[in-house]
Every structure is written in structure tokens, then in C-alpha cells.
């Protein structure tokens, strides 16, 4: 038996008895960042494939969600900083080893591009509104000419943004639950899947919904595979990783993780989408909403549970 006790007294806010430095804004940001990454990836991809006509929601209408998600996410990130007036120091340096530095720079690039993308389709998205100023109209003209360049930039940027939401957590070797290499691809896949779900909710075109449905089935299967891999990695890991896994398997996060994330957020939508592809009449709103809620809960579980796990000494 081994017992450890602070005898000098130590009760530092947010650190003792369990670490809780990152609060709900981080989980919300990780969700919105992944969602925006997924949306922008498919927006750019289908634009580059020349499917602008067949898939209007993907290329035009849904793209308006991305800048809104990014801006709310950025506000959430800023809200969780404790030394806010110095936030601009992020942009005085590039630190290759720090995922957060990467993320800050990618966000600085992808947020304006996502706004420009919407602006380039402004006339179609808001037919009743008019860009009042001449300089805005001129700028829009430049943007319309540069759609191809924006799409080419969005593909790598959205992938980096999606992976970054996972790498941000997996870079901390002090938190065994987060410290596995699969988290980057897992968060990317989850982000792409929530992005597709958001487009499905907005789309009114049958062909488009059908195609996105098929893509989403593939993404969910990959995500389930990656979750299995995460557990295999933890299960084959060291003592600290085994204890981290205990939180998700037979611990306080089991019901939330398997009930809400895996079953309600992945398996049931997968079955419903599969039935839809087979030709059954299924309101497509149900799987899409389940995926979005499941994705949000997944971020909350990972952020909260990860901070409980630690090295023992």
C-alpha cells in the first residue's frame, strides 16, 4: 500500500485536488474548430471537383456556418485565457514544437479565408442584400476570381486545423489519456463527420444528401476504428495509461462515453444512414443531429477525463 499526502498544505485553485485548468470553452472550441475544418474541407473539395451546381449546400450555403463557428470558437478560446491582454504575443513568434502556436497561426489564416469564401458567394447567399460600398464590390470581384486559389489553400489548412484540435491534447505527455498518437486523426475524422452532418442539415438537394450520407458512413466507420485503436493503445500501455483507460472503461465517464458518444453519436446514426442509403424513408435530420451532439460530448469527455489522468510518483 502506498499513501501520499501534502503535509505542508496545498490547495491551489484549479490544480488541487484534481487538475481543472481547461474548462468548457476549450471543449466548445475543439468541437467548433473540428466542425469548421470539416465544412471547409468538403466545401473546397467539391469546389475543386467542379460540383458547384450539383452540390449547392456544400459549396455555397453551408460555408456560412464555418466562419460563424470559427469566430465563436475563437471567442471561447480567448475567454479561457487568464492573461488576456498579452494574447497578441502568440503572433510575435512561431514555435514549431508547440501545437498551440501552430493552431494560432492556422486560425489566423483560415478564419479570414472562410469569411472571404462567403463574401465571394454573397450575391447568391443573400439575394435581397446589396454590398453597398464600391470597394466591397471590387474586393468581391477579386475574391470571385481567386476562388480556385482559396479552395487550394483551404484543403491543407482545414486538415491542419482538424488534426490540430487533437494534437493540441496529445502533445501533453503528462496526461496519459491524451498522450496517444491516434488523437490527431481521431479528432480530424470526428470533425469531418460533424462537418458533413452540418451540411446534410442545411442541404435541400436529394442527390447531395445521398452522396454526403455515403461519405458520412465511411467517416463514422473510420472513427469507430480509430476509437478502437485508441483503446488498444491504452490497453497495451503502461500503468498510467491503463489507469487513464479505466476512466472510460468501467469508470466515471463510461456511460457518457459509450452511451452518448459511441452508441447515440456514432452507431445509431451509422445504422440510420445505412438504412437511408438502402432506400428506407428516414428523416435525415435525426442522424445528423445525433452526430453533432455526439461530437460535442466527445470533446467534453476527452477534455474533462484527460485532466484527471496523471503520472503517479
Amino acid at each position: 500500500m502506498k499513501e501520499e499526502l501534502f503535509i505542508s498544505g496545498r490547495n491551489i485553485p484549479n490544480i488541487d485536488p484534481i487538475l481543472h485548468i481547461w474548462h468548457w470553452p476549450i471543449s466548445v472550441y475543439l468541437f467548433l474548430g473540428g466542425l469548421a475544418a470539416g465544412l471547409l474541407f468538403f466545401t473546397a473539395l467539391f469546389y475543386l471537383l467542379g460540383k458547384e451546381k450539383e452540390m449547392p449546400a456544400t459549396v455555397k450555403f453551408a460555408s456560412i456556418v464555418a466562419p460563424i463557428a470559427l469566430i465563436i470558437g475563437l471567442i471561447a478560446l480567448f475567454y479561457d485565457l487568464t492573461h488576456k491582454i498579452y494574447f497578441w504575443k502568440l503572433y510575435t513568434t512561431i514555435r514549431i514544437e508547440s501545437p498551440m502556436s501552430w493552431g494560432a497561426w492556422v486560425l489566423l489564416l483560415i478564419t479570414p479565408i472562410s469569411i472571404f469564401w462567403v463574401l465571394s458567394y454573397f450575391d447568391e447567399l443573400f439575394p435581397k442584400w446589396d454590398l453597398k460600398f464600391d470597394f466591397l464590390k471590387k474586393f468581391q470581384h477579386i475574391l470571385i476570381k481567386n476562388r480556385l486559389n482559396m479552395a487550394l489553400a483551404l484543403i491543407p489548412l482545414s486538415i491542419i486545423l482538424g488534426v490540430y484540435t487533437g494534437i493540441l491534447l496529445s502533445a501533453f505527455n503528462a496526461r496519459p489519456l491524451w498522450n496517444n498518437a491516434i488523437l490527431g486523426p481521431l479528432f480530424l475524422t470526428s470533425g469531418l463527420s460533424t462537418g458533413v452532418a452540418a451540411i446534410i442539415l442545411i442541404s435541400k438537394n436529394h442527390f447531395e444528401r445521398h452522396l454526403l450520407n455515403k461519405i458520412d458512413i465511411g467517416l463514422i466507420i473510420i472513427e469507430l476504428g480509430l476509437i478502437t485503436h485508441m483503446f488498444m493503445g491504452l490497453y497495451a500501455g503502461s500503468q498510467v495509461q491503463l489507469e487513464a483507460m479505466q476512466l472510460l472503461v468501467g469508470g466515471e465517464f463510461t456511460i457518457v462515453f459509450f452511451g452518448f458518444v459511441v452508441i447515440l453519436g456514432l452507431i445509431i446514426p451509422l445504422l440510420l444512414e445505412f438504412l437511408e442509403v438502402l432506400g428506407y424513408k428516414i428523416p435525415i435530420v435525426i442522424p445528423a443531429v445525433l452526430i453533432l451532439i455526439g461530437g460535442l460530448i466527445f470533446r467534453f469527455v476527452m477534455v474533462e477525463a484527460g485532466q484527471i489522468t496523471r503520472y503517479l510518483y
Partner: protein, 177 residues
């Protein structure tokens, strides 16, 4: 120069003088501390073993907090001491998440704070506050690159351990056991 602290767990009585000395010297806000004492009880009665450790930032040679810092506020200065530049710190908490020893905290003013190995004293040739007040003289501070220093000699003679070496951080606070 490679500054390190050596703490003799056989001589420590857990009086908390080091903790109070640090709070006074560094004006640590009430309710916070940069060092603390851990009592470990190992075994089942009657064969139990007690160990007392004065713990603080380990000033790791491979510091994860410096690696994760997005602005470069956390940095390593001459001698291997890990410091935080307050007006470069944005308070994102990445370094706190990355520390296996939970040695960092958010100062009420917003920036991240922790043990500095009393850099302001050591650079003037004095000992860190905690070392200078220890009534049992169980703490030693010096340069590991100098083979004649007290710390090098002690680590050559005695058995020692570091905390959570499996985290790969190469801590520079050594505990004699």
C-alpha cells in the same frame, strides 16, 4: 553550468520552513505555493516506510512546459533554470497541462507562476530561499557540471532518485534515499 538541487529525504523532518521561506521571499499570493511537502507512507502496518520530500518545479532538462508554450514565455536560462516571462505569458494553461509534477499555477494576476530556483538570489551568488533556511540542512544547491561541488559529490556517494523519470523530463531535483 547545470544547476541542480539535491534533497536528503533521510534528514528532512517535514517542518515546512522551505515552503514559508519561499512564500515570503517570492511574495507568493495567499493560498498558493511554489514548493510543498509530500509525505509518502509505503507498506502495511507494522512494516511501513515513511518518506518526506520537499517538492517544487524540477527544472527539467527536457522541459515539456517549454516545448508546449506557444509564445516562448516559458524558457530555459543559463544554468538550466526554467523561467516564465510574465509579460509574454498569455495564460493559456498549456504548460500546466504539460507538467507531470503539477508544479505550475495561475497567478491571481493571470500569468503562470512557479519556482524560479530563486534566480534573483542565485545570480547574486546566494542560495535559494528554501535551501538557506532549512533547519536540518537537508537541501543542497549547486552546479552538477563542477565535479567538486557539494551536489556532485553527494550524487556520487549516495543512492538517489528523481520524480517520475518515466515521463522523460530529465528532472534536476534529486532526492537522496
Amino acid at each position: 553550468m547545470k544547476l541542480a538541487m539535491v534533497i536528503d529525504t533521510k534528514k528532512c523532518v517535514g517542518c515546512s520552513d522551505c515552503v514559508v521561506a519561499c512564500q515570503t521571499e517570492n511574495d507568493v499570493p495567499i493560498g498558493y505555493c511554489r514548493d510543498w511537502i509530500i509525505e509518502t507512507v509505503n507498506g502495511t502496518y507494522p512494516s511501513i516506510e515513511l518518506e518526506l520530500r520537499s517538492e517544487r518545479c524540477n527544472h527539467c532538462s527536457n522541459a515539456p512546459c517549454v516545448r508546449c508554450c506557444p509564445t516562448g514565455a516559458s524558457h530555459i536560462v543559463d544554468g538550466g533554470t526554467v523561467l516564465v516571462t510574465h509579460n509574454e505569458c498569455i495564460g493559456c494553461g498549456a504548460c500546466i497541462e504539460s507538467c507531470p509534477y503539477d508544479a505550475r499555477f495561475q497567478h491571481p494576476r493571470g500569468y503562470i507562476d512557479k519556482c524560479t530556483f530563486c534566480y534573483h538570489r542565485v545570480s547574486k551568488g546566494k542560495l535559494p530561499a528554501c535551501v538557506s533556511v532549512c533547519p536540518t540542512k537537508c537541501m543542497y544547491f549547486g552546479d552538477l557540471d563542477n565535479s567538486h561541488s557539494e551536489v556532485s559529490q553527494l550524487l556520487g556517494k549516495r543512492r538517489y532518485k528523481t520524480l517520475a523519470p518515466e515521463a522523460g523530463t530529465k528532472p534536476q531535483v534529486y532526492y537522496l534515499i
